[in-house]
């Protein structure tokens, strides 16, 4: 056992524990809204798994803190005390503190800090205050008694979990002197005996100065799989309920399992793995089955082909194409995760923020099941947090102001995700005061972002808040108002290939709309030949392709070329010059100009010819090499060779930089 490197399990442990914490948090918030008792059980189970895990993997500080939390939860679970706001608050702070500990554990730093010690004390106090008698007794017991009487009855399935009762007895023997008496009453007759089940029970007398915790630690992992009673040896009458540790969770091991499953359902954690629903995998297997059948059908033609069966061959090939396409879509679907995992963090954020600011906010989450590419999902969290903070801090008014404006005290903040065309739209909607046009214009004038306010449309005013360093907040709070925010939001979204827009009506509220591409991993593109080389131009950025006459192109001083397109003059970028391709066509009238657009700017790309359309699986150049200007990635063509994908926005930036230089 000792030669197993336990550190290799740390990653999985962290992942599961963080999911457990998420589950705890959402259950706590649900409790706060008056949820059912079942929630307490799920919180308890999550805490219990984390405690057991952290003790096993060598994080005693974490285990100690969770232990205190668990004791408090235990009292709530047994109905010995009612859950109230203070307990929920304390538990939420414990969740935060544990998250911090996990972060430090991942970074290899010491776990305990002043905050965790303080919390531990508070938890212990909270657990002790309400039941002073029990606490007093617990403290007195180990000293008073000379030992313990332990009743240990494993459930039938305990052996299947890999737990050996003998090992537990040996561990107990290490603690003090042991008298063990086996109880054979449940052993069936030989013909009914299943040797893989445990039918024995034990009555154990342990003498020595041993604490109850030490004994419980021995049974830590089998707690859910046995009936266990620990009583002081010398006390004649059995003590009251608090010390009876009979845990009767049905089905061995289910406690820990449901804990994690719940966590998984609640959050697709960001760590380097994806949880895939069984449905998706079953769908994939079906498709692969279809593919194999089609392949077998096509295989027949290899044996003996005669032209009369040409129609069948064509049919088979069409089927193959169809199946490949659906297989591709399904496989891409594995990367798609519901946006709910990002939305999950907001109930907590909104609750904390609104309490802090003294505002009343109702959060509505709509479309949590909308699926997004994992990469997009990971990066959309921070921008959304910014927008939600802004909405609560700047957008929604204080209750008295709302009342004065004839609105209800409770402000509404809605996060909504839905599909529109080939994009995902995420909206952050508040029913607050809307943008303060005057304040924004005043600020913009002060920062000389604009010269006069007269001609500004509402859209243009909205645009101003996306400028770097722009904030109208009179006082900088720790929430927002430092002027870093909206520009970062926009940059993050643009990096993902999306857009942000704002729509504000004074007194009615503000809507931020984020539009994101469905996936970054596959694009539709056109293959463009330049000399002997072939590049992929993303279809979304292509406006039109035109063949120009040589006299349609104007040269301008400085070497640039312009051509007239729909009433405007657009610059021409000769791709062979840009990329240094050999043997490309030089004369404008021999090749093609494709008009491409990005960030609202259009240019003409001069290429030799378009070869055809194809779907391109985007591969990173940077993974093994580095970024290349004007290239966004690479893809693999049907013949196995590599083609580079053109970064239209990058080319336009290069072009304008050259113009400026």
């Amino acid at each position: 056992m000792s030669n197993i490197n336990i550190a290799q399990f740390h990653k999985v442990f962290f992942e599961e524990s963080l999911e457990g914490l998420d589950a705890m948090e959402s259950a706590l918030l649900a409790l706060d809204d008056g949820g059912a008792a079942e929630l307490v059980h799920s919180i308890f189970r999550a805490a219990h798994s984390i405690k057991g895990g952290s003790a096993t993997f060598g994080f005693p500080d974490m285990a100690a803190l969770t232990h205190e939390a668990e004791s408090l939860l235990d009292q709530v679970r047994d109905g010995r005390r009612a859950i109230d706001k203070s307990i929920i608050e304390l538990m939420l702070r414990t969740v935060d503190c544990l998250r911090g500990m996990f972060e430090r554990a991942q970074a290899g730093q010491p776990l305990a800090d002043a905050q965790s010690e303080d919390l531990k004390r508070q938890l212990a106090e909270a657990a002790g205050h309400n039941v002073p008698a029990a606490a007093g007794k617990a403290a007195a017991k180990p000293a008073a008694s000379g030992g313990w009487s332990i009743q240990f009855r494993p459930h039938a399935g305990m052996l299947a979990g890999g737990n050996d009762p003998l090992r537990l007895l040996r561990e107990l023997a290490a603690l003090g002197q042991l008298v063990v008496e086996a109880q054979l009453d449940r052993v069936p007759t030989l013909d009914a005996l299943d040797p893989s089940e445990c039918h024995l029970g034990w009555r154990i007398e342990l003498t020595g100065a041993v604490s109850r915790e030490a004994i419980k630690a021995v049974f830590e992992w089998v707690e859910d799989e046995c009936d266990l009673t620990i009583e002081p040896l010398v006390v004649a009458a059995p003590p009251p309920a608090p010390s009876v540790e009979a845990v009767a969770v049905p089905a061995a091991g289910a406690g820990a399992a449901t804990g994690t499953a719940r966590g998984a359902a609640a959050s697709g954690n960001d760590a380097g793995s994806v949880r895939v629903s069984i449905d998706k995998i079953d769908g994939l297997i079906d498709l692969v089955g279809e593919l194999v059948i089609t392949q077998a059908m096509l295989d027949q033609f290899r044996e003996d082909f005669d032209p009369s069966r040409l129609a069948m061959l064509q049919h088979g090939l069409a089927q193959l194409a169809r199946h490949t396409r659906s297989l591709q879509e399904s496989v891409m679907g594995i990367r798609m995760l519901p946006i709910g995992s990002v939305f999950n963090r907001f109930p907590r954020l909104v609750r904390d923020l609104s309490q802090k600011l003294g505002k009343q906010v109702k959060l509505e989450l709509v479309g949590e099941h909308t699926e997004l590419d994992k990469t997009v999902l990971e990066k959309i969290g921070d921008p959304l947090v910014h927008l939600v903070r802004n909405a609560i801090d700047h957008g929604l008014e204080m209750p008295d102001k709302r009342r004065a404006a004839g609105k209800s005290d409770m402000g509404t903040l809605r996060l909504e995700a839905f599909h529109r065309g080939g994009s995902i739209v995420v909206e952050v909607v508040d029913d607050g005061a809307g943008l303060n046009r005057e304040a924004i214009i005043a600020k913009a004038l002060q920062k000389s972002l604009i010269s006069s306010a007269d001609t500004l449309s509402d859209e243009a005013v909205g645009e101003l808040i996306f400028q770097p360093g722009f904030s109208t907040a009179a006082v900088t709070t720790d929430l927002s108002g430092r002027g870093v925010g909206m520009d970062v939001v926009r940059r993050n979204v643009v990096d993902l290939g999306g857009t942000v827009s704002i729509n504000s009506r004074p007194g009615k509220g503000t809507t931020f709309t984020i539009t994101l591409p469905l996936t970054l991993a596959i694009i539709d593109g056109l293959r463009a030949a330049v000399g002997e080389e072939c590049y992929i131009v993303p279809l979304v950025s292509i406006v039109e392709s035109v063949q120009l006459r040589a006299d349609a192109v104007r040269s301008v001083t400085g070497g640039g070329e312009l051509f007239r397109f729909r009433g405007e003059y657009l610059p021409i970028v000769r791709l062979h010059q840009q990329f240094g391709c050999a043997d490309a066509r030089q004369n404008i009238d021999e090749g093609l100009v494709i008009v491409v657009e990005a960030d609202g700017t259009q240019i003409g790309l001069f290429i030799d010819e378009l070869i055809g359309q194809q779907q391109a699986v985007v591969k990173s150049l940077e993974a093994n090499y580095r970024r290349v200007d004007g290239i966004s990635g690479a893809t693999i063509l049907a013949d196995g060779s590599v083609a580079l994908i053109i970064d239209v926005a990058g080319l336009i930036r290069l072009q304008s930089r050259r113009k400026a230089a």
Binding site: C581, S620, N624, G630, L644
Partner: protein, 161 residues
């Protein structure tokens, strides 16, 4: 006992170079690659290595030698260094050598056709001399190289002062 390591030896312009065999991922025949714009001249392009896009450099060009016509023995050695893969085109592969660390001599700062910064040391196998390559340095971006040079210069300045 001194540490022992194995080196794959490759031929390049009548000299023999050793590459740490633990860094070698595979050896494959020369196949045409896709050129990458705006790359140093020694980066020939990228190839598709079972779905991964892997850059390929010509070791002759990297070392400032003239490029040979590629023929039947020309091979691409795929090397993995700190998680990144790249291919190195050499004239031919020849041997695998066991080299103990005490048999590695420092490179004298002269004589070889290759810039000594890419070399870890040299050793002998029988009467042949083998130059051991420092694979980490072969595909450094020029920025990193310039930065390194600047840092070294700064160190020199400090040493003088």
């Amino acid at each position: 006992m001194a540490d022992q390591a194995q080196y794959l030896t490759v031929n390049l312009a009548h000299e023999e170079y050793g590459i740490d065999i633990l860094a070698v991922r595979e050896i494959r025949g020369w196949t045409p690659v896709t050129r990458i714009p705006q790359s140093p001249h020694y980066v020939l392009g990228v190839l598709n290595l079972r779905g991964a896009i892997v850059p390929v450099i010509d070791l002759r060009l990297r070392f400032g030698l003239t490029r040979e016509e590629y023929n039947a023995t020309t091979v691409t050695v795929i090397i993995t260094v700190s998680g990144r893969q790249f291919g190195v085109v050499v004239d031919a592969v020849s041997d695998v050598l066991d080299v103990t660390s005490d048999a590695i001599r420092p490179v004298p700062d002269m004589g070889t056709t290759v810039d000594t910064e890419y070399l870890k040391g040299l050793t002998s196998a029988g009467d042949r001399m083998v130059l051991l390559l420092d694979a980490d340095k072969l595909l450094q971006s020029q920025d990193a190289q310039m930065l390194e040079a600047a840092l070294n210069a700064a160190h020199d300045v400090k040493a003088v002062a």
